[in-house]
Symmetry: C2
Subunit: 225 residues, 2 copies
């Protein structure tokens, strides 16, 4: 029984995270067993995650079999866009939920033929904060900043920068029109994470996409020659 | 006592929201009594909330006495910028907290001389989702989208659009460089909220600022002539 008025917030939060971590660990084991490279993509609303995935899936099409899980509060807009370039796309509607959790990933995977997947992209809900704390069983966490958001964002979102396996600075095609100090941005990243690779990309011009694809290829299982 | 394993998430969330609403109601009564117009500004990271406030405070300087509370996970960057154009600015560091709550507003106000305030701006944590559900005692909620985020964002964030008293489309100076369908954006807003005023603005060129200032003046207490 819960005593009315009792302060039990912290144990509850811990229990939710523990339950999430257990499911995520099981997912990770299964992904590794199947040789699927799983990437959790985290960025603010409008940072260009979907456009980047469209370009990525087009480029990967011939090289790697991919699937995408895409989280949004509501609408199927992103899934509909991605379904044009990938035959296995599942939309996860979170309602008022601000991030994806491992059980949502597990349930969505029931709709995916994992035998036909080498790279699984999880496009998280557009949010720079809440998704960072939830393990989804991914092999790598990719943080996406957009140049249009300003050069001061890494320091303001340290948990993502510290835990990311790769950072992308998207929409670099717009840099000529912005007041954005790329050296300041990079210095901000390096204060928090000396190791993380940082790539400038543009889904519009294709700049940087080859480096991003090479990073994906390095993470995926070696192909049979 | 809390029984281990008991599922008590929903009562806890309800209790947190009820406690928040009680504090917010008390704040609202106090703001109304003092004749202070309080605006909660909600938008994604990098949508330009701070730049817009800088321009707004510069323009309001001679007309209205203002104060700002500014929420961020970490750093004093926004507060430092705003302190150059406003003598009463308080940074609220939320740590890993993804939104402001009413008790944080109440505590921050201890550092503000409210007798010298006619308009109080609350710049919420950069997040389009979580801040929407927390009443801060404001008179008006202002949602900020950036043109750089794409024209599809209102439908993906219906709770903000439905509850906002004003929507701003910021960074309209960049529209010539973007693939952004302004009619589609506005139609998306109108499907969710037929009444809410919608203003295009740019902190860089000043476009739309007079309309935004007029909206603020209409909400603030009439000045003595």
């Amino acid at each position: 029984m819960t005593e009315p008025g009792a302060t039990v917030r912290i144990p509850i939060v811990e229990r939710v995270l523990e339950a999430n971590d257990e499911i995520a660990a099981a997912l990770r084991t299964d992904f590794q067993h199947r040789g699927i490279f799983v990437v959790d993509i985290i960025g603010a609303p409008g940072c260009g995650k979907t456009a980047l995935l469209e370009a990525t899936l087009r480029a990967l099409g011939g090289r790697r079999r991919s699937a995408v899980l895409v989280g949004d509060l509501t609408t199927r807009r992103d899934a509909d866009r991605l379904a044009r370039v990938c035959d296995q796309v599942v939309q996860i509607s979170t309602g008022q939920g601000c991030h994806l959790e491992a059980d949502q990933v597990r349930d969505a995977l029931a709709k995916v033929d994992l035998d036909r997947v080498e790279v699984l992209f999880i496009e998280n809900v557009g949010n720079l904060i809440c998704p960072v704390g939830f393990d989804l069983g991914q092999a790598a966490k990719v943080g996406v900043f957009s140049a249009t958001e300003g050069d001061d964002k890494p320091g303001k979102h340290p948990y993502l920068v510290q835990t990311a396996d790769l950072l992308l600075l998207n929409k670099v095609d717009l840099l000529p029109h912005l007041s954005f100090d790329r050296a300041a941005f990079e210095a901000d990243v390096r204060l928090l994470n000396r190791e993380v690779p940082l790539l400038g990309v543009s889904a519009v011009t294709g700049e940087g996409l080859e480096a991003w694809l090479a990073w994906l290829e390095a993470g995926a299982r070696p192909q049979h020659s």
